[in-house]
Symmetry: C2
Amino acid sequence: MNYIEIIGFVAAFLTTAAFLPQVYQTWKTKDVSSLSLPMLLLFFIGIFAWLIYGVLKNSPSMIFANSITIVSSFLLVYFKIKYGKK
Amino acid sequence: MNYIEIIGFVAAFLTTAAFLPQVYQTWKTKDVSSLSLPMLLLFFIGIFAWLIYGVLKNSPSMIFANSITIVSSFLLVYFKIKYGKK
């Protein structure tokens, strides 16, 4: 693995890990008042496009990061819709 | 511009635009209770690493996206610290 991919994986771990506390905090508190649904939806679709881009560019770090982040962002959309109604 | 970069720019616009409603909502409401500071900080550093990765991979869409998102995520960190104290 070349040094460019090492930087990519550092970035991948950080941006992927960034979503875990948010997913956990949202799941735990059920407080979605300051989460924006438009943000979450645009982000989810955008991450899907980045995943395709990563596949086409043969970028292992982008494929890794976006595969995980797409699950995290899907969960946040789900929580926002589920808990936002109350 | 080849079709891979077009997909990249679609992704770039979506994930970049995703942060604007959040930044606006946070600035407007000053409600940062359900934003997680660890998430915001990890994300900010991760975006910085993706920006370096994009430069090294000569990816115009990644450079574009991450240059803008780094400003948005910096603003969210700033709001969280500023309004979180109250």
